[in-house]
Structures are given as C-alpha cells and as structure tokens.
C-alpha cells in the first residue's frame, strides 16, 4: 500500500540545482541567490508550484540555479512571458528576475505594464547599474559620468530611478534591499511574496568586475548607518547608529529633510511616521540620495488593488454563469442559419 508521505521541511539547499553557478567570483548575485533560497525555505514554498522567469543577462541566469520550474527567456521580455504564465495558471507562484538593462532598458515597457496591470508577480530587479553580461556598457541606471566601453568619455544621460519609475507607473508594491543585507533581503522578499499583485523589489547588486563599489557610498561599514534608512510601516522614520536622526516633512518646501532628535528642540514626536499606503511619501523617500539624504530601504509603498489575473478569470466565471459552459455546437450555429434539404 503506497502512502504519500508529507515532504519534510525543505532547507535553503533544497532549492539549489546541481548546476554549477557561473557568476564571476565575488559577484553580488551569489548573495542574492542565497537570500532567495533562504526566503523560499522560510516560506516553505512548494518547488513544483514555483516558477522563475528571467530575460537575458548575468542576473537572468538565476533560474538555472533554482530547483523549481524555470524559464530563461529572451532579453527584456521576462515580465511579458511571466504574465502569460500567471494568466494561464494563477495557481503558480511566479518570480521574475532580471538586471537593470533587462528590465529597465529593453524591457522597461513590459515591466511598466506588468506593474500597472497589477498582475501577481514578484519582480526582482538586480540593479548593478551596468550591463554585466555584455562586458560593461553603461545602463539606464548608471550614474552620469560612467565611463564604459560605449561611453569612453563618460555617460551624459540622467539615470532612471527604478523605485520612482515603479511608483510613477502605478506599481502597488515597491521595495528596496541590497545583496549584502542578508537579513533584510529575505524579509523584504517575504513581504513581496505575500503581497497580492505585482511586487517590485529593487536589489542593489555589486558587479565586482565592471562596476565595483557602485553602492559603497551607502553600503560600506563606515557609512551605512548614516546613509541608509530602513523604513517600516507605522514606525517613525529614524536612522543613524543610535537612531538619533530622523526625517521630517518641511511643509513650506514640501520635501523631507534630515533632523537630529534632541538638537534644536526636535523630539521624536516631530519625526514623520512611515505610511506605506501613501504614494506621495514613497515618492519622496525614493528620491532621497546621499550624501544629503540616506537611501531608503524596505517597503516604500504597499497599496492594495485587485489583481489582474483574478479579474480576468472572474469574467470567465461570470460569462460561464451567464451563458452556461460553452457549447461549441451551439456556437457554430449562433446567428442566422438556413437549411438546405
């Protein structure tokens, strides 16, 4: 008699494939891979119902290393392919992985429409501010002045802010973390997973070969406390080693500014409280940049709205209720017909 024994709890390692991981030694992608595998273990995610879809790029190699279903598609199209997967089978947990070129350059439009439609995907953008796989050309997120093979005298175009982009196009879940924040990252990813609808997570990732240290101005030991603020819904926007600094809204100039609690009469009560349901606040947080302001990490925005695939399938049920399950013979005879004896 063959009894289906319940699978015992999976560990992070169980989500790893037998494939040799082929990123450059020291690449931030390794840490993210670990973070994602830990997240799935903590979520007790069922590998058979989990799909990783990616485009092309170093980041996009990701699915080959996950012991789940995986589809390494073509450059820039992963949000569209993933949308098809989710529409066809809403039961699946669909994760989308790609780089800043993949999802914001060639794939920007698909990312935008997946977000605005609010289809239930977890979209992870590995932002290393460079084209890694093609050997180091600048990307739409590269800082002005980036010298690269295609911009030998330095890039001249303003980078796009991934988070502001996601908020501007109507994304309902916008969060940020970093490859090196091994505790923070899984927490953010779990929020993204539990959010119904499109979740957008920008993960700062160090490309050690072509853009090393792109984020050290806010991730390095010395500066991280003062240059990062980890936002949490309902909590005051405090940061700094002793959480002695905070953000307040300057009402006349309508922008956030940094104050120090205790200094010239500022009390903790004056500190703005994070409201992840407020898109305008999220926008202000997303705009903050060192050195004058810290980089906001965590869930910047989390609204709730019906998800696309649910609504689509609801209409199918509605139509089936209204017209009865489709009868093809009836359909062929719909409209005016005539009979020849």
């Amino acid at each position: 008699m063959n009894v289906q024994s319940p699978p015992e709890k999976l560990t992070a390692r169980d989500y790893a494939t037998d494939q040799e991981v082929r990123w450059c030694p020291g690449c931030g992608d390794y840490a993210i891979l670990k973070g994602v595998q830990n997240t799935l273990a903590q979520l007790e995610a069922d590998p058979k119902n989990t799909v990783f879809v990616s485009g092309i790029g170093c980041a996009a190699r990701f699915p080959y290393y996950m012991e789940t279903y995986g589809f390494h598609t073509i450059h820039g199209r992963s949000p569209a392919v993933a949308s098809g997967v989710k529409l066809a089978n809403p039961e699946l947990d669909v994760w989308v992985v790609g780089g800043d070129g993949d999802m914001l350059s060639i794939g920007g439009n698909h990312t935008m429409h997946a977000l605005r439609r609010n289809i239930d995907l977890q979209i992870l953008l590995f932002n290393n501010q460079i084209y890694g796989l093609t050997k180091g050309q600048y990307s739409p997120t590269s800082k002005i002045g980036t010298r690269s093979p295609s911009t030998p005298l330095g890039s001249v175009d303003n980078p796009v802010s991934a988070a502001q982009f996601a908020l501007g196009v109507g994304g309902n879940f916008v969060a940020r973390s970093s490859d090196i924040l091994q505790k923070h990252l899984p927490e953010v990813l779990k929020r993204a997973y539990h959010h119904k609808g499109a979740s957008f997570v920008e993960i700062f990732q160090n490309c050690i070969v072509y853009n090393d240290g792109a984020f050290k101005h806010f991730t390095e030991k010395g500066v991280q406390d003062d240059m990062q603020i980890h936002v949490e819904h309902g909590k005051p926007l405090l940061f700094g080693k002793e959480k002695e600094k905070g953000l307040v809204l300057n009402r006349d100039e309508m922008r956030l500014e940094v104050v120090t609690v205790g200094e010239n009469g500022v009390t903790e009560a004056d500190i703005a409280v994070h409201d992840e349901k407020n898109r305008s606040l999220a926008m202000m947080l997303a705009q903050m940049e060192p050195p004058t302001m810290p980089v906001a990490l965590g869930v910047l925005y989390c609204g709730d709205a019906p998800t696309y695939e649910t609504a689509v399938h609801a209409q199918i049920e509605q139509a089936t209720k209204a017209n009865g399950p489709g009868d093809i013979t009836k359909l062929l005879h719909r409209g005016q017909t005539w009979t020849v004896e």
Partner: protein, 622 residues
C-alpha cells in the same frame, strides 16, 4: 409587429440569369454593410451559392460625402457554384455622387446603375469632384441608369412615424434594399424579422425601416421601369443538404482555434495587440469567455508573443495574432518558441506592405517572412487559408501540429479572407478526430529534451507537476538534458533535430491533390491562400474552353506536401499567381528545381478571373 405587405410579383416575366453581382455603395453613415449582409442572407435562404466582399474606407469616419468615406458591400450570387465576389458589377446601387464616382469603373458595360438622385446635391457633387451632375448630362450613356429620389421617397414612406428628417433618412438603405429585393424577386420576411429583432426596443424605428423596405419594393412593383429592368430571377444552386450559415475568415479561424483546442483538450490563452486587419480575431475570441478562453490585449506585439509563449509553457495553448508589421516584431520571440520547442499558433492576417503600407488592403507578401524571416536556422510550419470557410479546418490543423510536434505554427490569412464571407455547411465539431495532449507526469527517466522517436517532439510538462521541475531557455540546449551547452557537436545535432522535426511533418499531412484537372499536362496553376476562388474559376473556364490546364492549391506552405515535387514535374509549365512579387515561387524553385513562373499582382486587390484567364491563355499559347 410590422409585416411585409405587398404581394410578391409573379415570376413569369422575369429574366432568368445564372448569377449576378450587386454592389451597394454609399456613405460610411448610410449602412451599406447592413444592407449587404441582409441581401446576402436572403440570397442564401433563396438557395443561391454566393460570395461577398465588404470594402470599407481606410479612414475611421471620413466626413460625409467624401470619396474616401465611401463604404461598399459586394455580393456575387448564383444558381451555380460561386468562386469569387465577382470581377464586374451587374448592378451598382450608388447612394451619393462619391459612391458613383469611386465605383462606376467596376460596372459592366451596359450594366445597371441605380442612384439616389436626391443625394446628388451641388454640395455632394462638389465633394465628389463632379463639375456637372452625371445623372443629368449623358456621361453615363454606357450604362442603364435608374435615377430615383430615394431620399424623398423614403421620407414620405416613413412620414407617419413622425421621425426627424435626419432619422427618416436613416431608412434610405432599406428602401434601396427593398427595390433590389423586388428586382431579384426576393422575399422580404427574413429582413423584416431581423429588423423587428434588432429594434425590439424601438418599435417605431423598426416600423419605419420596414415601411421603407416595403416602399422600395412597391416602387419596383408599380413604377414603370424600363422594360429590360422588368426584374430578374436567379434560381437556387445545387447545394449539398445541411444547415448553413455565412462565415468570414475571421470567424472560421476563431471557431477553428476553439475547436482545435477542445480536440487537444486545452484551454486557449490568446495574446494579441490590435492591428488592422487582424484585430477582429481578438474581438471574436474575447466573446468566447464561457469556453475558458483567456484573451490578453498586451502592450505590444512582442509582449503578446512572449505572453503566449509563457502561456504555452504553463500548459495552455498560447496563440498570438497580428499583421505583417506586428509579425515582424514577434519574430525574435517566435525564435524562442522554436528553440525551447513549445507549441504556439501565430495567425498573420496579411495586408499590403512594406511597412505600414495599406492597412485596409489585401496582399500575400508575408510568405517570405513566414518561411525565412528569423535569425538562425529556425524552421517552423506554415499553413495558409484559401477561403473564408477554410479557416476552420486550417486552424484545427495548426493546433494539431503545434501540440503534436511542440512547435510554433504560422497561419497565413489576408485582408480579403478575414472580411469576405461565404455560406458554410456547419460541421459537427464532435465528429472530428480528437488529438488530446498528454502532458508528461512520469518522473521516471524524465529529461526535458528527450525526443519522441516518431515525431521528434520533446515532452510537454505543466509547471505544478510533482518531481518534474526543470529549466529551459533560449541558449542552445544539451540534446537530452536541456542544460546549457556550447558543445559544437551538440549544436549540430540539435540544429539537425529541429530541421528534421519540422521536415518530418510532411509525412503527417495529406499528399497534395489536384484541386481541379489532371495530375500532369500542359500547365499547372499553383496557388495558395485567398487566390483560390479566382484561380479555380479561371481554370474552370479555360477547361470548359477545352484547354489543358489544372489548378493545384496549397494549404501547406512549409513543409510542402511530400508528393508535390513529383506532381509538379508532370506539367510542362507551372504558373504561380500571387498577390506579391513571387514569394511562393522562390520556395518551389528552390525545393524542386522547377522553372515555375510568377504571375504577380500587387495592387491591394484580389485577382480578377479575367486577368487569370488572360495569363493562362498566354502561357498555353507559348
């Protein structure tokens, strides 16, 4: 409930004709498409065979009275088999000067022109570009002109319902329909019923339209028409018994895809982006939700193709559709479906190119793109639709091949076929042979690229299946495992396997038959797609004249039927008429080393039977 009143006129003194071509032409606002479909339905019920072609303007809603705002509907109906909507018009109904000036050239010498003189105002004449009123000078002497002030007569006919003049004039088309019904001795009841149904909520509008219909009919009855217009009779055609409907190419493809999906036991995920003339397929399928059909209007064609591929990966039947420019955009994604060996149906409603070209005009110029238009060695099957009804069988076949061979399949229709309609004997879909897909579920020895020995197809696994988790992608895959492989020998092996898989489909499709004529002889006229009607009729006529010519019409463009080379070798000459610059011709010459000659027409319009007869005659006299 209004009724048709006037008794039908006895048929004694009607002139019997084997077939007739009538075109209703008027302003976009004049309801010519409705008028045409009503006349079509009535002709069908009267037992005629028929073919129709609607021709609406490129502009969305051009200003009233302008030449580019003219909308027309043509029907060819007869007591014999009807192959095309007709080369030349027996009767043109022109509701305004613009309609007359843009359509007159198509009228037979001495053909009948019925014009609404009430619409030939100075303003309308000017808009159409007439210096003088053609109804009043003798510029129409080559035709049998019947100028009637339909506008006024319609307004009078509906007086009793107290409509505004504008509203009243809306029934003008029904007045004209009534007159033509009389002219061909047709019953009005079907249209009366239809009007009552359509305007159920507005009974007076229904009544007014019916009154106009009757008035037009009565006018024919009573008015002293020129003797030779005493009315015609078109007897029923010999038509196989059964239940019929009219069907357009769009409808047949939509129904075929749905039937195919049911035979394969799959749900459809249809992903598209609007484009003329392909959009109507999206519109059709969007109304089939109770069949579990998911339709997705993507942000662009690339996303549509990509989403369809994702949907196939997830275990439904992914379908995408577009026209030439949109198909061009999909090609990179189609390459991914070829590489990952996922089923996908791609429907291309061809239109005149290159680039934006003439979106509302028909052409067959995407065959090169379908057969050759991808990067890398990327073979995929290509099927074509020959008539408005043919789309049903072709779509089913596309689904069968795509799912059985794990490959994208291209289906080529065109701007003519998607809009044209013909009577269709409604088949019994449950009678069709099933080809239910069996998804792989057995972990035993599973590898994603182990091929079926017969078909060379790889297994199809639904994500969600236990113990079959695997990864696929566009980078070359190792022969069985599907893992990334840069091994030279493996790439050769996979390239050969992809080619062999598609080539092998030739053994799973019917041998090519001779559509009309004998296997071998002096001349074979080889066609594909919507040239079917005119070629068949032209060959038929030439054979009646005793010429040694046969018609071979292809459904399968790639791979070609396995016997085609031998078949064509049996003819002294091979002529390939195409609405392009000679694209199928290239494939035939390459594959069979047969000196096929092209007959090419690139005007955005279908071949005329006459054009083909002339060309055939020329070849035969060589």
């Amino acid at each position: 409930m209004s009724e048709a009143v006037a008794i039908e006129r006895p048929d004694e003194d009607r002139q019997e004709v084997e077939s007739a071509v009538v075109r209703f032409a008027g302003d976009s606002g004049d309801g010519m498409q409705l008028t045409g479909t009503q006349f079509t339905m009535t002709a069908a019920i009267a037992g005629n065979d028929l073919a129709t072609f609607p021709d609406f303007p490129a502009e969305i809603r051009a200003p009233a009275g302008t030449t580019f705002g003219v909308s027309a509907y043509q029907i060819n109906f007869g007591a014999r088999k009807i192959m095309t909507s007709g080369d030349q018009l027996d009767v043109l109904v022109a509701m305004n000067p613009a309609a007359l000036i843009t359509n007159l050239a198509d009228v037979k010498p001495n053909g009948i022109v019925i014009a609404d003189s009430g619409a030939f105002t100075d303003r309308n004449l000017a808009k159409a570009g007439y210096e003088k009123n053609p109804l009043e000078d003798d510029s129409l002497h080559g035709y049998r002109l019947v100028a009637i002030d339909m506008s006024r007569l319609t307004v009078e006919a509906v007086k009793e319902f107290g409509l505004s003049n504008k509203e009243a004039l809306r029934s003008k088309n029904m007045w004209a329909l009534g007159l033509i019904y009389w002219m061909y001795g047709r019953k009005r009841q079907a249209s009366v019923d239809w009007l009552n149904a359509k305007f159920k909520s507005k009974p007076d509008i229904a009544a007014a339209n019916i009154a106009a219909l009757n008035a037009g009919h009565a006018f024919g009855e009573t008015a002293e028409m020129p003797a030779e217009l005493s009315g015609f009779e078109v007897l029923p055609a010999k038509i196989a018994p059964g239940t019929y409907r009219t069907i357009t190419g769009t409808e047949s493809v939509a129904l075929g895809l749905l039937t195919g999906a049911q035979l394969a036991n799959l749900n459809i995920t249809f992903c598209s982006y609007p484009i003329t003339p392909a959009s109507s397929l999206l519109h059709q399928l969007a109304r089939m939700k109770e069949f579990g059909v998911v339709t997705f209007q993507a942000e662009d064609e690339i996303a549509a193709a990509a989403a369809a591929i994702g949907a196939s990966y997830a275990g439904t039947l992914g379908i995408t559709s577009s026209s030439g420019p949109g198909i061009a955009l999909k090609m990179e994604a189609i390459g991914l479906a070829i590489a990952t060996e996922l089923p996908l149906v791609v429907v291309n409603a061809q239109r005149a190119g290159p680039s934006t070209g003439m979106p509302t005009k028909t052409e067959q110029s995407d065959l090169y793109q379908a057969v050759y238009g991808r990067n890398g060695d990327a073979p995929m099957p290509v099927l074509s639709v020959s008539t408005p009804a043919d789309g049903y069988e072709v779509a089913i076949e596309a689904v069968r091949i795509a799912t059985k061979y794990m490959t994208p399949v291209m289906v080529l229709t065109d701007g003519y076929i998607v809009n044209a309609s013909e009577p269709w004997r409604i088949p019994d879909p449950t009678g069709h042979e099933k080809f239910a897909v069996t998804f792989r579920t057995d972990p035993e020895g599973f590898q994603p690229f182990v091929r079926d020995e017969a078909t060379l197809a790889r297994p199809w696994v639904r994500p969600g299946t236990p113990e079959l988790m695997h990864r696929i992608g566009g980078i070359e895959r190792s022969y069985n495992s599907g893992h990334i492989s840069y091994d030279p020998a493996n790439h050769q092996k996979m390239t050969d396997a992809r080619a062999a898989k598609v080539a092998g489909i030739a053994n799973d499709i019917p041998e090519q038959d001779v559509t009309l004529g004998e296997p071998g002889g002096k001349l074979a006229v080889v066609g594909w797609g919507s040239t079917y009607g005119p070629i068949n009729r032209a060959v038929n006529n030439m054979r009646d004249e005793g010429h040694d010519v046969s018609h071979i019409h292809l459904r399968y463009i790639w791979p070609l039927p396995r016997n085609l080379g031998d078949l064509l070798a049996g003819y002294d000459h091979v002529l390939v008429p195409e609405m392009n610059n000679g694209q199928l011709k290239t494939v035939l010459r390459d594959q069979y080393m047969i000196p096929a000659e092209g007959l090419n027409k690139v005007t955005g319009k279908p071949f005329l039977i006459g054009e083909l007869e002339t060309a055939i005659r020329a070849r035969l006299e060589k």
